[in-house]
Symmetry: C5
Subunit: 342 residues, 5 copies
Amino acid sequence: MKFDKDGNVTTFEKKKMELYHELSLQARDLRFQHLTSITARNNNIIIRMEALKAVVTPNSLLVLDFRGLGLERWLVLELAPQLNGDHGALATHSLPFEFRALEAILQHRVNTLQARLNEVHPVILDILESLVDPKLLSADRSKLHILLQNSKNLSELETDIKVFKDSLLKILDEEEMIEELCVTKWTDPRVFEESSLGIDHAEEMELLLENYFMQAEELGNTTRELKGLIDDSESVIFINLDSHRNVMMRLNLQLTMGTFSLSLFGLMGVAFGMNLESTFEEDPKVFWLVTGFMFLGSGLIWRRLLSFLGRHLEPTIPPQIPTVWKRNQINSKGGEVKSGLR
Amino acid sequence: MKFDKDGNVTTFEKKKMELYHELSLQARDLRFQHLTSITARNNNIIIRMEALKAVVTPNSLLVLDFRGLGLERWLVLELAPQLNGDHGALATHSLPFEFRALEAILQHRVNTLQARLNEVHPVILDILESLVDPKLLSADRSKLHILLQNSKNLSELETDIKVFKDSLLKILDEEEMIEELCVTKWTDPRVFEESSLGIDHAEEMELLLENYFMQAEELGNTTRELKGLIDDSESVIFINLDSHRNVMMRLNLQLTMGTFSLSLFGLMGVAFGMNLESTFEEDPKVFWLVTGFMFLGSGLIWRRLLSFLGRHLEPTIPPQIPTVWKRNQINSKGGEVKSGLR
Amino acid sequence: MKFDKDGNVTTFEKKKMELYHELSLQARDLRFQHLTSITARNNNIIIRMEALKAVVTPNSLLVLDFRGLGLERWLVLELAPQLNGDHGALATHSLPFEFRALEAILQHRVNTLQARLNEVHPVILDILESLVDPKLLSADRSKLHILLQNSKNLSELETDIKVFKDSLLKILDEEEMIEELCVTKWTDPRVFEESSLGIDHAEEMELLLENYFMQAEELGNTTRELKGLIDDSESVIFINLDSHRNVMMRLNLQLTMGTFSLSLFGLMGVAFGMNLESTFEEDPKVFWLVTGFMFLGSGLIWRRLLSFLGRHLEPTIPPQIPTVWKRNQINSKGGEVKSGLR
Amino acid sequence: MKFDKDGNVTTFEKKKMELYHELSLQARDLRFQHLTSITARNNNIIIRMEALKAVVTPNSLLVLDFRGLGLERWLVLELAPQLNGDHGALATHSLPFEFRALEAILQHRVNTLQARLNEVHPVILDILESLVDPKLLSADRSKLHILLQNSKNLSELETDIKVFKDSLLKILDEEEMIEELCVTKWTDPRVFEESSLGIDHAEEMELLLENYFMQAEELGNTTRELKGLIDDSESVIFINLDSHRNVMMRLNLQLTMGTFSLSLFGLMGVAFGMNLESTFEEDPKVFWLVTGFMFLGSGLIWRRLLSFLGRHLEPTIPPQIPTVWKRNQINSKGGEVKSGLR
Amino acid sequence: MKFDKDGNVTTFEKKKMELYHELSLQARDLRFQHLTSITARNNNIIIRMEALKAVVTPNSLLVLDFRGLGLERWLVLELAPQLNGDHGALATHSLPFEFRALEAILQHRVNTLQARLNEVHPVILDILESLVDPKLLSADRSKLHILLQNSKNLSELETDIKVFKDSLLKILDEEEMIEELCVTKWTDPRVFEESSLGIDHAEEMELLLENYFMQAEELGNTTRELKGLIDDSESVIFINLDSHRNVMMRLNLQLTMGTFSLSLFGLMGVAFGMNLESTFEEDPKVFWLVTGFMFLGSGLIWRRLLSFLGRHLEPTIPPQIPTVWKRNQINSKGGEVKSGLR
């Protein structure tokens, strides 16, 4: 366990019981049953933010069980100066110690959430950008896997932001709880007197909490937008894939029509290829006649089928839509091989 | 930095510290941590609306850091006359200065949001209109890309409207905050007396804020409707694409049936084409017999398959639906080539 | 402008300024910035319901700018008798004039909303009924277009109902505003005295507003149900189209299997059709042997493929589902041409 | 009209006006404008639950317009004993008459809602069970039709439950309205005195209403779960149909590959079948060579295409997924006809 | 029935009436109409948590109808020590008996819910993991069935958690109800005095209930995340299946193009195979010429079709997207058989 006083940092280990006694808390108060909670008990503020467990007394901040959580660096390098009041960026340096401590911890929490969002956000945008690319015939399935993973992380982040917001909101909704958080007010008689002269700690505390509530709200808005973007992109991916499929299907159908025509007139060739007597065997013109008929017939039937397809894909009530006529013309010309495939 | 007094416009630069001192504010009050916020502090109203940062004092409006934001034109051309009270369109010209200033800023914000909506709205409607066109076999993928981009902008706009509404609602929900916003009331003793005679500034302020809240609400309703329209259109696009596909698939199936029939009876021709003795070689009638059988057989089998397909696509319990009989007849006639393909 | 008094109808034109003066209102009060609003100002009720703008004074109703809105018929034929109290269907004829006026206007608004719903409702039901028809292979795309149009109208109607409900709710939530709406109470001293004797106008007003709020709520419920029905129907349409496609695909696959079999054994025929010496040329039995082998082999391979397909479409873990055995039998018989296609 | 007193049942017809007079109500109070409402007026409780219209006075229950609604059986057989207090199952028999009447009517309403849910619930579960069956290639479209019908009924039921809950909640939210419902308390001076001694009718009334509110809540939860189940099942149906389609498509592709191979090498046979001089005509080995080459070449090309297909359907970045190797082996063996189709 | 006093466990059977008398409750109070409810009546707390029905008196806990519910083990092994206060893990051992009893029951309920979640959670994750696998061509339908079953269980669990939370929230929202739950306070005059000295039972009770409310909230968050994950995974499965289909479709189309080319030029061979005089019969070069033309022509046409397909699948407005050029090159090379299929 570690001990942080107005500026100095001390690390020591203590038994739980001694700690309870020293802070006049009960065992239950330090059980930290919820992942995120801020409670005031006997002029101490007990905070848990996921891994970080802390107790704020009027003139010190105790961080419990801080080892092995990757928090050491933050504790040593950033927390101490902030509490010391040296760190100019914090607005509360003229306020009592518990304000500085609370602000440092809430700021750390918001930073952590922001960092997680910053990690997920560009990855998702990148993947969506590449998946939505209209040139792609099929979605890259390994990217989908990564997208799913990130979207799961996003959901978890959303829940954590919601839990953080709820725990702040619970305090903001009850005037009494805000009062209780201003621990210096109750312990320092001098401050208590001042507060009756208009310097109100509770109001400052409310502003501080509200500030972090709104920061969390902004994070929440960003995650919600990101989720909406994923949904929209998925729809676009589906329409993309469906469109590609329809285009390919039409090509396939046009070729099937060609194959059908060739089979139909090829049957004629097969008939004349049979070792059966047809009386035409000796007539030299018949070969060219039949061959010409086969190719021409195939071509004509195919052309007919293609123009039929063109008409078939038109809407049933064309008069309503003025551009139909133009399209009809294009399709009726579609019988020629090349334009039919375009 | 710039300085706007009752009508005159002055631009000057000041150090932050001097400004704090002059307005008797603390450094923290002018930090503008949130993108959208309205706060009252020591008879000053501190406003931030995205890029615009302003401080309203009882008889002047200070706009901070206004350079490079594209706001200059609005500041010079529109804001000054509005504050001056010359601009007849504003209803608050008989009210204290802070009303005029607040109204000008809120109106500017609502106008900005409205302008963003006006930009996105027709583009989305146009794209949807062209995507939903029932004649299209496939969705234009570059349009989908633009749609996605606009739908993302719409989400961001929705969030901004929500944040603007929330910041107004927060004030409207607390009577005290509305009172604080009426800064003239607290600084001008004459006005303070009046207010006890029934001329209530707070009520006017509530009406003013409510007015802009409702304007934002209307914007929010429009964006929500637009989002719903995008969703509905996407469903219709999907059904369109699926329908096209089914129609093409049926055509494909009908042609596959034809090809199958031709192959089946073509096999016969191939058989007779083998250089093997079949004893029929010399009989002249056999040629016509087999050829006729091949073509006729193909036709009959195809007809049979088509009528089978017609029956197959019927629902399993036809008695419930009275129109089935009529359709059955159509389908049984479908064996002929042309009507079968129609 | 028009003027409606206790029963008589007068039409006249007035300048705005005179009107303000006469009603002791400010210019701002008659600006009608929101599409739907009910406000009380200096013993006048100012109402806007989309196109209809009206001012209710204790003993008259002024309808402003009524020309060219299609409201004339309603104003002349229905509004006058209702205000007169002759129209027996209105329950408030024993109550002061402002009740009659307010009821007439709210009733008109609810009727308008109801009429719009009545217009959209049967069209949507009809289209859905015809689109959901399980016999259809493809959705009629012109109907989809109409559906989309109506679904857009429905969204707009939903928003209007919501706005109407919200503006009523805002009044119902504040006791004071209801009191202000009872303008007769404040102008007529006789009524004021009565009200202290238990005849409470405010309560009557609350009942009246609540009544229309609940009517709007019922309209809102109907639109929500309709939207849900559209969503459900779309799912059913998709499943329908998908089912059709799967059935056609299986048929297609079965025919492709047939064509493959025929090609495979047709290759044999082609081989013997080559102008190459195979030593079998003179043997008369070989023709029948090979021909028979070709047709029989095709049939057998096809049968094998079909039964393979039957097995392939079974679930991977059949023991869990007791009906599998029955189906397996059907499928193994599927090798015969006819039953395989059924 | 009918008249139910403490135990006796009387049926009589009365004019509306007489009724109003007798109950000292106004015409408007008995208009029953909303489908579901509970109101207290002059020591009478006016209830409407869809078809059932009733007035509860301190010592009688009047059911209005009860004919032709299918309510007769319930009125005669069940309502009378319940009101009489004989029906042991009701908990309120020691309480004033209006409690018994209200409880009987609310119980009837909840029973009706429950009955409607019981009707829809098993049908939907059955249909979903059969539609979700993984063995099915296509969804039974007549079942979809029934599902849609039931899902529409479910939506209507959900709305009715919501309306019922809302009308109860409106009363529960206002202490005053609960007081008003205890009509005996206000008419019977003896009871009024008692109530000041701690026997509180209002509290009992709150418990009674809360009880039915929670029963309605449970019904609402069940309908919501059912709706969620329908949605989930639809997704599963879609995945099922898509999976079937993909499996069929792969088979189709494998066969198309086969047909392509046969066509390619069949072309060789056709070439030799031409009546053109190829100089090989007399060589007996060439027949077997070419025939063998045709069949073998087809087989080899097909095998190659199949293994190519196997590789093609693999994910693009196989190293990430350890099971790829195993699958690759299976697919490379897929060149042989049988295993390729498995 | 069973009887648990401060530490001793007694089992006995009693008639309902005796029980009512003993606890001075009414029959109605022990009807347990709702699945989950906590009520205070005459200094007894009546609790129902699904199967578990219990009455907490100031110094004993009665569990009713406990047989055949699988609760015996928990009752005997865990409940007794907890109530006894021996079980060190419970924080309330210094508090009155009803706290211990309530905590034990609520803990049991939360544990049950947690256990159900723990059962469903890994199964769903496993199935999703295997379904989302990008290598799969088709979804395993028996896994879908299990997923659907689990997703249904999850919905039911979600409802149960919601009901549990609501019943706690109902108490937490009303200060009075919390007071009533502190039954010892009202029965033991000594405790009552203490409470006026600052030892507040109600506050402890609120903390206890809030604790379990937050535990339920965490469970609720997890179920919601899980539901979101199922939805996201389903989208990914759909995109996966669609992608596979598109890839297969392109392959199919490429092969159909090949077959078409072969048919087209095969027709030439068939023509020369006819037993008709073409005057080329004797020219030995013609055989090689025609054969070469057939194969080469097929190849060229196919190549042309493939490059046409490549261009066709490009977006319509390529200049916007810079990577198009690169892709175009790849596709134009796609005419060669191998690279075209890659």
